[in-house]
Amino acid sequence: EAGVAQSPRYKIIEKRQSVAFWCNPISGHATLYWYQQILGQGPKLLIQFQNNGVVDDSQLPKDRFSAERLKGVDSTLKIQPAKLEDSAVYLCASSLMAGPYEQYFGPGTRLTVT
Protein backbone atom coordinates (compact mmCIF):
# COMPACT_ATOMS: atom_id res chain seq x y z
CA GLU A 1 0.00 0.00 0.00
CA ALA A 2 1.48 3.34 -1.04
CA GLY A 3 1.71 5.91 1.71
CA VAL A 4 0.78 9.57 1.79
CA ALA A 5 2.83 11.52 -0.73
CA GLN A 6 3.83 15.15 -0.34
CA SER A 7 5.81 17.56 -2.45
CA PRO A 8 8.01 19.42 -2.39
CA ARG A 9 10.02 18.11 0.57
CA TYR A 10 11.78 21.43 1.12
CA LYS A 11 11.02 25.00 0.12
CA ILE A 12 12.78 28.27 0.84
CA ILE A 13 11.03 31.52 0.01
CA GLU A 14 11.24 35.16 0.97
CA LYS A 15 8.57 36.81 3.05
CA ARG A 16 5.60 38.11 1.10
CA GLN A 17 6.10 35.46 -1.59
CA SER A 18 3.56 32.72 -2.17
CA VAL A 19 4.01 28.96 -1.92
CA ALA A 20 1.93 25.86 -2.54
CA PHE A 21 2.19 22.35 -1.16
CA TRP A 22 0.69 19.21 -2.65
CA CYS A 23 -0.60 16.06 -0.99
CA ASN A 24 -1.81 12.73 -2.35
CA PRO A 25 -3.47 10.64 0.37
CA ILE A 26 -3.69 6.88 0.64
CA SER A 27 -6.08 5.50 -1.95
CA GLY A 28 -9.57 5.13 -0.58
CA HIS A 29 -9.05 7.44 2.40
CA ALA A 30 -11.94 9.86 2.61
CA THR A 31 -10.45 12.20 5.18
CA LEU A 32 -7.45 14.42 4.64
CA TYR A 33 -5.73 16.69 7.15
CA TRP A 34 -3.16 19.48 6.90
CA TYR A 35 -1.06 20.21 9.97
CA GLN A 36 1.52 22.85 10.78
CA GLN A 37 4.40 21.72 12.98
CA ILE A 38 6.68 24.42 14.30
CA LEU A 39 10.09 23.24 15.45
CA GLY A 40 9.91 21.69 18.90
CA GLN A 41 6.11 21.58 19.00
CA GLY A 42 3.39 19.10 18.22
CA PRO A 43 1.39 19.25 14.98
CA LYS A 44 -1.42 21.80 14.90
CA LEU A 45 -4.43 21.06 12.70
CA LEU A 46 -5.00 23.65 10.00
CA ILE A 47 -7.81 22.07 8.01
CA GLN A 48 -9.67 18.78 7.71
CA PHE A 49 -11.49 17.57 4.59
CA GLN A 50 -14.06 14.80 4.31
CA ASN A 51 -14.01 13.89 0.61
CA ASN A 52 -13.97 17.37 -0.98
CA GLY A 53 -15.86 19.15 1.79
CA VAL A 54 -14.31 21.05 4.70
CA VAL A 55 -15.01 19.53 8.13
CA ASP A 56 -12.91 21.90 10.24
CA ASP A 57 -10.85 24.93 9.29
CA SER A 58 -11.17 26.83 12.55
CA GLN A 59 -7.39 27.16 12.99
CA LEU A 60 -6.57 28.08 9.39
CA PRO A 61 -5.37 31.71 9.06
CA LYS A 62 -7.77 32.43 6.24
CA ASP A 63 -6.32 35.83 5.41
CA ARG A 64 -3.23 34.12 4.01
CA PHE A 65 -3.80 30.37 3.93
CA SER A 66 -6.10 28.50 1.59
CA ALA A 67 -6.62 24.83 0.81
CA GLU A 68 -8.65 22.80 -1.59
CA ARG A 69 -9.30 19.17 -2.29
CA LEU A 70 -10.69 18.83 -5.76
CA LYS A 71 -12.45 15.58 -6.66
CA GLY A 72 -11.94 14.38 -3.10
CA VAL A 73 -8.44 13.03 -3.69
CA ASP A 74 -5.35 15.27 -3.96
CA SER A 75 -5.11 18.47 -1.99
CA THR A 76 -3.12 21.67 -2.16
CA LEU A 77 -2.33 24.10 0.64
CA LYS A 78 -1.31 27.63 -0.32
CA ILE A 79 0.19 30.48 1.63
CA GLN A 80 0.00 33.97 0.16
CA PRO A 81 1.75 36.12 1.29
CA ALA A 82 4.14 34.21 3.53
CA LYS A 83 5.40 35.59 6.83
CA LEU A 84 8.51 34.68 8.79
CA GLU A 85 6.38 32.88 11.40
CA ASP A 86 5.09 30.49 8.73
CA SER A 87 8.43 28.69 8.81
CA ALA A 88 7.48 25.17 9.83
CA VAL A 89 6.93 21.65 8.57
CA TYR A 90 3.59 21.18 6.84
CA LEU A 91 2.28 17.67 7.30
CA CYS A 92 -0.48 16.01 5.36
CA ALA A 93 -2.31 13.02 6.83
CA SER A 94 -5.21 10.85 5.77
CA SER A 95 -7.57 8.42 7.41
CA LEU A 96 -10.20 6.01 6.17
CA MET A 97 -12.98 8.26 7.40
CA ALA A 98 -13.55 11.18 9.73
CA GLY A 99 -13.66 10.42 13.41
CA PRO A 100 -11.44 8.85 16.07
CA TYR A 101 -9.38 6.72 13.70
CA GLU A 102 -5.65 6.47 13.25
CA GLN A 103 -4.06 8.85 10.80
CA TYR A 104 -1.36 8.11 8.26
CA PHE A 105 1.15 10.89 7.74
CA GLY A 106 3.25 11.95 4.80
CA PRO A 107 6.91 12.96 5.20
CA GLY A 108 6.08 16.66 5.34
CA THR A 109 7.27 19.79 3.56
CA ARG A 110 9.81 21.90 5.42
CA LEU A 111 9.18 25.57 4.66
CA THR A 112 11.72 28.25 5.47
CA VAL A 113 10.65 31.87 5.07
CA THR A 114 13.53 34.37 5.02
Binding site: V4, Y33, Y35, G40, Q41, G42, P43, K44, L45, Q48, V55, D56, L91, A93, A98, G99, P100, E102, Q103, Y104, F105, G106, P107, G108, R110
Partner: protein
Protein backbone atom coordinates in the same frame (compact mmCIF):
# COMPACT_ATOMS: atom_id res chain seq x y z
CA UNK B 1 -7.17 24.05 25.31
CA UNK B 2 -7.62 20.33 24.78
CA UNK B 3 -3.99 19.90 23.81
CA UNK B 4 -2.16 17.20 25.68
CA UNK B 5 1.15 17.85 27.32
CA UNK B 6 3.82 15.22 27.54
CA UNK B 7 6.46 14.93 30.17
CA UNK B 8 9.32 14.72 30.35
CA UNK B 9 10.16 16.97 27.39
CA UNK B 10 13.35 14.98 26.87
CA UNK B 11 14.50 11.58 28.06
CA UNK B 12 17.85 9.87 27.60
CA UNK B 13 18.35 6.20 28.51
CA UNK B 14 20.71 3.32 27.84
CA UNK B 15 19.76 0.62 25.38
CA UNK B 16 17.87 -2.16 27.10
CA UNK B 17 16.30 0.11 29.72
CA UNK B 18 12.61 0.94 29.85
CA UNK B 19 11.31 4.37 28.84
CA UNK B 20 8.17 5.91 30.30
CA UNK B 21 6.53 9.08 29.06
CA UNK B 22 3.34 10.69 30.26
CA UNK B 23 0.54 12.68 28.68
CA UNK B 24 -1.94 14.89 30.48
CA UNK B 25 -5.00 16.49 28.92
CA UNK B 26 -7.87 18.71 29.95
CA UNK B 27 -11.25 17.58 28.62
CA UNK B 28 -13.22 14.48 27.61
CA UNK B 29 -11.92 12.14 24.96
CA UNK B 30 -13.17 9.31 22.73
CA UNK B 31 -9.71 7.82 22.57
CA UNK B 32 -6.07 8.67 22.98
CA UNK B 33 -3.41 7.76 20.46
CA UNK B 34 0.37 7.68 20.58
CA UNK B 35 2.55 8.50 17.57
CA UNK B 36 6.28 8.37 16.92
CA UNK B 37 8.19 10.84 14.77
CA UNK B 38 11.72 10.17 13.62
CA UNK B 39 13.81 13.21 12.81
CA UNK B 40 12.76 14.80 9.53
CA UNK B 41 9.91 12.36 8.97
CA UNK B 42 6.15 12.24 9.36
CA UNK B 43 4.35 10.76 12.35
CA UNK B 44 3.70 7.04 12.62
CA UNK B 45 0.76 5.67 14.58
CA UNK B 46 1.78 3.37 17.43
CA UNK B 47 -1.26 2.52 19.51
CA UNK B 48 -4.82 3.64 20.24
CA UNK B 49 -6.58 3.28 23.58
CA UNK B 50 -10.30 3.95 23.92
CA UNK B 51 -11.77 5.95 26.76
CA UNK B 52 -13.31 2.82 28.32
CA UNK B 53 -10.01 0.94 28.31
CA UNK B 54 -7.40 1.15 31.05
CA UNK B 55 -4.43 -0.64 29.55
CA UNK B 56 -3.31 -1.86 26.16
CA UNK B 57 -0.25 -3.71 24.88
CA UNK B 58 1.39 -3.89 21.50
CA UNK B 59 4.73 -5.65 21.27
CA UNK B 60 7.14 -3.73 23.50
CA UNK B 61 4.62 -0.94 24.05
CA UNK B 62 2.29 -0.64 27.01
CA UNK B 63 -0.19 2.20 27.28
CA UNK B 64 -2.32 3.07 30.28
CA UNK B 65 -5.18 5.52 30.49
CA UNK B 66 -6.68 7.07 33.60
CA UNK B 67 -9.67 9.18 32.57
CA UNK B 68 -10.30 10.31 36.15
CA UNK B 69 -6.85 11.90 36.21
CA UNK B 70 -6.96 12.78 32.52
CA UNK B 71 -3.60 11.20 31.94
CA UNK B 72 -1.96 8.45 29.92
CA UNK B 73 1.45 6.84 29.95
CA UNK B 74 3.47 5.09 27.28
CA UNK B 75 6.01 2.49 28.37
CA UNK B 76 8.59 1.17 25.93
CA UNK B 77 10.31 -1.91 27.32
CA UNK B 78 13.79 -3.14 26.43
CA UNK B 79 14.55 -0.01 24.44
CA UNK B 80 16.66 -0.08 21.28
CA UNK B 81 18.70 2.60 19.55
CA UNK B 82 16.06 2.56 16.79
CA UNK B 83 13.48 3.80 19.33
CA UNK B 84 15.23 7.19 19.32
CA UNK B 85 12.49 9.59 18.19
CA UNK B 86 9.92 12.07 19.41
CA UNK B 87 6.73 10.64 20.84
CA UNK B 88 3.40 12.47 20.76
CA UNK B 89 0.07 11.76 22.36
CA UNK B 90 -3.07 12.80 20.50
CA UNK B 91 -6.35 13.25 22.30
CA UNK B 92 -9.38 12.60 20.12
CA UNK B 93 -12.94 13.78 20.59
CA UNK B 94 -15.28 13.28 17.65
CA UNK B 95 -13.46 14.68 14.63
CA UNK B 96 -11.05 16.72 16.74
CA UNK B 97 -7.42 15.63 17.07
CA UNK B 98 -5.11 17.51 19.45
CA UNK B 99 -1.45 16.61 19.55
CA UNK B 100 0.69 17.18 22.60
CA UNK B 101 4.04 18.87 22.78
CA UNK B 102 6.03 15.65 22.54
CA UNK B 103 8.75 13.78 24.41
CA UNK B 104 12.14 13.49 22.75
CA UNK B 105 13.60 10.08 23.51
CA UNK B 106 17.27 9.26 22.99
CA UNK B 107 18.39 5.65 23.41
CA UNK B 108 22.14 5.37 23.80
CA UNK B 109 23.65 2.17 22.33
Amino acid sequence: SQQGEEDPQALSIQEGENATMNCSYKTSINNLQWYRQNSGRGLVHLILIRSNEREKHSGRLRVTLDTSKKSSSLLITASRAADTASYFCATVLGNQFYFGTGTSLTVIP
